[in-house]
Amino acid sequence: MEEEAAAERSNLAGVRHILLVLSGKGGVGKSTISTELALSLRHSGKKVGILDVDLCGPSIPRMFRVQDNDVHQCDSGWVPVFVDQDKSISLMSIGFLLEKPDDAVVWRGPKKNALIKQFVADVAWGDLDFLIVDTPPGTSDEHISTVEALRPYKPLGAILVTTPQAVSVGDVRRELTFCKKTGLRVLGIVENMSGFVCPHCSECTNIFSKGGGEELAKHAGVPFLGCVPLDPQLSQSLEEGRDFIQEFPKSSAFPALARIAQQILDGTSQRSS
């Protein structure tokens, strides 16, 4: 009861839904999917925040072209960085706290855990429809601390991202176990980098194989949210911090990303009814 009361007064009191983006495997597109999901939800009129708890490799600030911004304090805590005038997307990342972008954060677990607790408790998010939590690969300090710190706020669940290959799926199986053990609901699996359509001749090549994510979802009994193909335009947009959803609605990746966002929205409207 005390925990619930504290949750009501906290900086996360105005956040309607919290969802985590996990993998287990590195480099599968967690930050990419977090960013594109945020953009999609914004285009559906939602207010979104992204909390980047990857302390060693914070990718989120650059994906919105705000990597040079600073974080300011207010009475309730840290003010998140807004990516535009509308304040429809706000971010928090260790990337904003580094003096120089190339500074390595060489911290052991306990120090990482302390910052994550602060990130969860001390960022003045205000009112948000969604808070997306982008994580580093693995099942270690950052993940344990994030789930523990978020528990009183009852997160919606987790999206797990994989590439199609067995080597990736192998790690994501372990992440599923992590979710089970920590009581985190799995909203579904996304199979990223699933096929590449040559822009010259339209031949589709499965560079990182195909189907592993879908099979895993079936095997584990969790929803399959869809396949997102490799699209160099998407990679380029992210590098340059542009709005991919706005600029490339004809891209092969766009329908897949839009479908994932729609399933999340459908899931939340089901939950509240």
């Binding site: 480099g27 706290l97 060489v106 270690s140 176990t177 090549t205 160099p232």
Partner: protein, 323 residues
């Protein structure tokens, strides 16, 4: 409100990764003192002696690092091991210290293998007579088993891997690491300070999102005084098998690894193009170098492996005899 752990460091801060972290006189009063002190310290002299003894027979040690996940560290480590072990006269060891996401057993075709104990310690799992492998993957009973450990426990296992595995006489010890600059990386550098590390090979893809993490890794290497053998740019272009046109799937918007290496004065060992066969071979547990000997990617890998060998030969470590 609690102070931000990223606050100003005291003058004469010994460094958060030093053995004196949290313990030096300058640490008194620093808000992070307790945090620094709870990290695993460098091994004590007795432990260091034990590690030194165990690793005495290792001629060359190479760390494969990145900073960024999913750029091909494990793939490269596996192929480096295969490449070096092609010379049957050389004894090669591959140590996988990615505790949460151990990919090496699968890539080496050793899934399901278990570690055996003998009088002289844990036996590595052998792929060939001259190529032995160790990974936490061999200690797990099911592919769904998750290793949900905080830092100190991971450090303990890494120490065990170095202290308790009976590698025998090795020409090359290759250490595959997880992404990041955290417990595993600090620990391996600290524990291996008991012996000698020839250097680190750093893997990246051409994209800025990778390079920004790799620059941090390069800084980490400088901080802990780890020599850098060079950088490998992976996934560097894709040639369509049908029309043979090249596409940059991970475009080098800021000049790729080449520009970064120029700016930071580190060696670019080579660029490896994307080849769908690489992923397939990894999933099957076969060596891509053997499965696709004609691929441009194989040629790149072989050139890079040769450069690494040359580096090791030139920087030959003369073992100090402890009297």
């Amino acid at each position: 409100m609690a102070e931000a752990p990223c606050g100003p460091q005291p003058e004469d801060c010994p460094g958060t990764n030093s053995a004196q972290a949290g313990r030096a006189a300058a640490c008194q009063g620093c808000p992070n003192q307790r945090l620094c002190a709870t990290g695993a310290a460098a091994p004590d002299p007795a432990e260091a002696a034990e590690l030194r003894e165990r690793l005495r027979s290792v001629k060359h040690t190479i760390l494969v690092l990145s900073g960024k996940g999913g750029v091909g560290k494990s793939t490269f480590s596996a192929l480096l091991a295969h490449g070096l072990a092609a010379d049957e006269a050389k004894q090669v060891a591959l140590l996988d210290i990615d505790i949460c996401g151990p990919s090496i057993p699968k890539m080496m075709g050793l899934e399901g293998e278990q570690v055996h104990q003998s009088g002289s310690g844990w036996s590595p799992v052998y792929v060939e007579e001259n190529l032995g492998v160790m990974s936490v993957g061999f200690l797990l009973s099911s592919p769904d088993d998750a290793v949900i450990w905080r830092g100190p426990k991971k450090n303990g296992l890494i120490k065990q891997f170095l202290r308790d595995v009976d590698w025998g006489e090795i020409d090359y010890l290759i250490v595959d690491t997880p992404p990041g600059t955290s417990d595993e990386h600090l620990s391996i550098v600290q524990y291996l300070s008991a012996t000698h590390i020839d250097g680190a090979v750093i893997i990246t893809t051409p994209q800025e999102v990778s390079l920004q993490d790799v620059r941090k890794e390069i800084n980490f290497c400088h901080k802990v005084k780890l020599p850098i053998i060079g950088v490998v740019e992976n996934m560097s272009g894709f040639i369509c098998p049908k029309c043979k046109n090249e596409s940059q799937i991970f475009p080098p918007t800021t000049g790729g690894a080449e520009k970064m290496c120029q700016n930071l004065n580190v060696s670019l060992l080579g660029k490896v193009p994307l080849d769908p066969q690489i992923g397939k071979s990894c999933d099957k547990g076969q060596s891509f170098l053997s499965e696709a000997p004609e691929s441009p990617a194989t040629l790149s890998y072989r050139n890079i492996i040769q450069r690494i060998q040359e580096y090791c030969d030139q920087h030959h470590f003369h073992e100090e005899k402890i009297i």
